[in-house]
Symmetry: C2
Subunit: 135 residues, 2 copies
DNA sequence: GTATTTGCAAATACTTTGCAAAACC
DNA sequence: GGTTTTGCAAAGTATTTGCAAATAC
């Protein structure tokens, strides 16, 4: 919900959202730029960044901060957890996790007003397990 | 545990660790640089970064990735959760949280080998609540 | 004495921004 | 037609790195 400004449906914004919705790989801004450039060769990286910002502010996509010092993006706007491979770096979604009731339990031990949480798991993905890769 | 290399106790490394242990504010690398510079005026920011890396690799401190695109550091090597104020940005520790048994519950729904997790809470800190500050 | 670490400066990685032209509604 | 968005390039912010000199052990 932008305040005052009316959000337009530009070709660039549309394609960025479409491409991001196609994948489950949680790409970085530059990876999205590479994907989108195949359909819109003249698009600039700055436009990609600006649109990712707009789309995440309006709740159509999500930022994921599971890499140090750069963001990844998730075309799935629904809240869910992530798991990252400590060997190959791949990031998967985790659905159907039990509800840990963390906000509620946590509010009993602190005088903060809790508005949300972020939970990420780390581990070894099936491909790395199978290949016997070590850190 | 560095492999092969023997880790030395330099003046810089010692002071960085001491200063970080003194505070509970989870400073950024540059904030640590400012703190340490008062005692070692000739230290360079690069040295601070290199030592923070060494210290976190050896488990004496922790990196916390709760800001987008920069790291904070925690002089407390013990595992614990964090809570960040969505208004003023302050980051506090959360101790004595109940054990959610998340690794165990999660391993039943995925074929990854889970090695750890990270959990951060977001909310409004007592100071911002009291001051009635809004986003 | 030798391997590690430092200070410095330059380089790198990622992201943001100013501005005139183009696109949207 | 007026406002938003784009492409481009430059700037900004955080972090890393090459190297000769200094330090730790």
């Amino acid at each position: 919900m932008p305040k005052g400004k009316k959000q337009r449906i530009t070709r660039q914004r549309k394609v960025i959202l479409e491409e991001l919705r196609k994948v489950t790989s949680h790409p970085t801004a530059d990876e999205i730029y590479q994907m989108v450039k195949k359909r819109l060769p003249k698009i600039s990286l700055g436009t990609v960044y600006r649109n990712l910002e707009v789309l995440s502010k309006s709740g159509e996509i999500q930022k994921i901060d599971v890499d140090e010092n750069r963001l990844r993006y998730d075309g799935n706007p629904k809240e869910h957890y992530h798991i990252k491979c400590i060997i190959c770096g791949r990031v998967d979604d985790l659905h159907d996790l039990p509800d840990f009731k963390m906000e509620k339990k946590t509010s009993t031990i602190t005088d903060w007003e809790i508005t949300g949480h972020r939970l990420d798991f780390f581990g070894i993905c099936p491909a790395c397990l199978k290949a016997g890769r070590k850190r």
